[in-house]
């Protein structure tokens, strides 16, 4: 991230970012939004190539990065899924990326193995963006969530955010845990006991920011408290007993009835895809901001790409 004078050339984990770096990314995203609104030609990364390596399926993250790169005047190469690639022939990840660094100026990668983005960043010389590594981190999603909160609420300070759902395996909430307390945002963690936030993240956040998030096992506990409700999907495959899944998943959904007790200006965010944790009836309420997140996501990714590849400002 050479334009910002940052230590790291890569975006691997929200835990690596300083507040100054995050503020710089948010400011850059605002500039991108401004450019877009004014209809100014965006040729900031003309001649640059982004490689999108999605070893796992992705709809939003991949298309969002590709859209961002195209809007900046750059080009995109890459794959989604490993069919037809050398990976299917047994090629090791490090060999794959050593080749790809000769084709592109930056890599965005999603891979099911945790730590894979860090390994790739240590293997190649070009900047690497983690587009999700297993259940570990998804820093660009957390940055776009933060940007959405800022735009929707007009500030970040003194907000109360409830993170709900699968906090154990949800990579976006793992990343958010490092970004939200940076700005003094108060946290509540709502999940079934079996899907609680990993203890090492709680310990790390307590040590870094001196905060101890409150734990809850019901949305009822936080609905009137929260300024932002961040809902994540509880994945069926995390449960060995289907009955247990039905029981748990059914108690973490948002509907109009629940929202009767919410603050009038509360906003609901979701990294998507949602299944049935937010009922479709909520989509038309003023609380629903999750589709707007995807728009802000493009601005954040334009900002990240421009900063990392040293484009003009």
């Amino acid at each position: 991230m050479n334009n910002m004078g940052l230590k790291s050339k890569d975006l691997i984990s929200a835990a690596d970012l300083t507040k100054v770096e995050v503020e710089d990314i948010l400011r850059e995203a605002d500039l991108m939004l401004d450019r877009l609104k004014k209809g100014r030609p965006a040729d900031l990364l003309k001649g640059k190539i982004l490689a999108t390596l999605f070893f796992e399926p992705s709809t939003r993250t991949r298309l969002s990065f590709e859209s961002a790169m195209h809007r900046l005047g750059g080009s995109v190469i890459g794959f989604s899924g490993t069919e037809g690639t050398s990976v299917q022939k047994g090629e090791k990840l490090q060999d794959t990326v050593r080749n790809i660094e000769n084709y592109a100026h930056c890599i965005v990668m999603r891979n099911s193995f945790e730590g894979s983005a860090r390994l790739v960043a240590e293997t190649v010389k070009i900047p690497v963006i983690n587009g999700g590594d297993g259940a570990n981190q998804h820093p660009s999603q957390a940055l776009l969530d933060l940007f959405t909160i800022k735009k929707e609420k007009g500030r970040l300070a003194k907000l109360r955010v409830a993170l709900c759902g699968d906090l154990r395996y949800g990579r976006t909430v793992h990343s958010l845990m490092y970004l939200l307390p940076m700005f003094g945002i108060e946290l509540a963690l709502v999940s079934p006991k079996s899907l609680r936030m990993p203890e090492y993240i709680i310990d790390d956040v307590r040590e870094r920011f001196g905060v101890s998030p409150a734990f809850h096992d019901s949305l009822d506990d936080v609905i009137s408290w929260a300024d932002v409700l961040y809902v994540t999907r509880i994945q069926r495959e995390r449960f060995t007993d289907p009955n247990e899944y039905e029981k748990v998943a059914g108690s973490y959904f948002v509907d109009k009835k629940l929202l009767e007790r919410a603050k009038k200006d509360m906003v609901i965010l979701h990294p998507l895809p949602r299944v049935d944790e937010i009922k479709p009836e909520v989509d038309s309420t003023p609380y629903a901001k999750y589709f707007g997140q995807t728009f802000y996501g493009v601005m954040i990714r334009m900002a990240i790409l421009n900063l990392m590849m040293g484009g003009k400002r």
Partner: protein, 144 residues
């Protein structure tokens, strides 16, 4: 019995003592000792620990960084550095700040378990954090 263990004195090298019984082979595996004369005694009677292992390594003076790795398996180990058949330095081990290459990440989904790379763990409180998958583990969670 402890004092009666008859092993030829070494001229120059390292003696690792007070190792937990049965740990000697794991500890030997931490160091590249294929060219050194090594004597390992296992299940030796010990007045303090009941049973213990000990290792004598001829011709290799292990550094503090190296012997601190032993603390993960043998926190009560004592290290004697021998020069000219005399104890030149006697020290205990302490948990290292960073461990490279010795430990396998217990997280089966960690990329270090499927790609060829040197594992790296940083001490974080009383635990060790994998520099790749970011998970933290107590020492007892590692297969040593």
């Amino acid at each position: 019995m402890e004092d009666e263990l008859k092993v030829t004195k070494i001229d120059r090298g390292t003696v690792l003592d007070h190792l937990p019984a049965g740990s000697a082979m794991s500890i030997l595996g931490m160091f590249g000792l294929d060219k050194n004369l090594v004597v390992a005694a296992m299940n030796v009677d010990s007045s303090k620990y009941g049973k213990k292992d000990m290792i004598k390594i001829e011709g290799r003076l292990l550094s503090r960084e190296e012997t601190d790795k032993i603390s993960l398996i043998a926190p009560s180990a004592t290290i004697n550095i021998i020069k000219s058949k005399k104890v030149a330095d006697k020290r205990r081990v302490s948990p290292p700040e960073e461990v490279r290459g010795v430990l396998t990440c217990p997280n089966k989904k960690c990329v270090t378990n499927v790609e060829e790379c040197v594992t790296r763990f940083l001490k974080s409180g009383g635990k060790y954090k994998c520099c790749f998958c970011e998970s933290q583990f107590a020492v007892k969670e590692f297969s040593l």
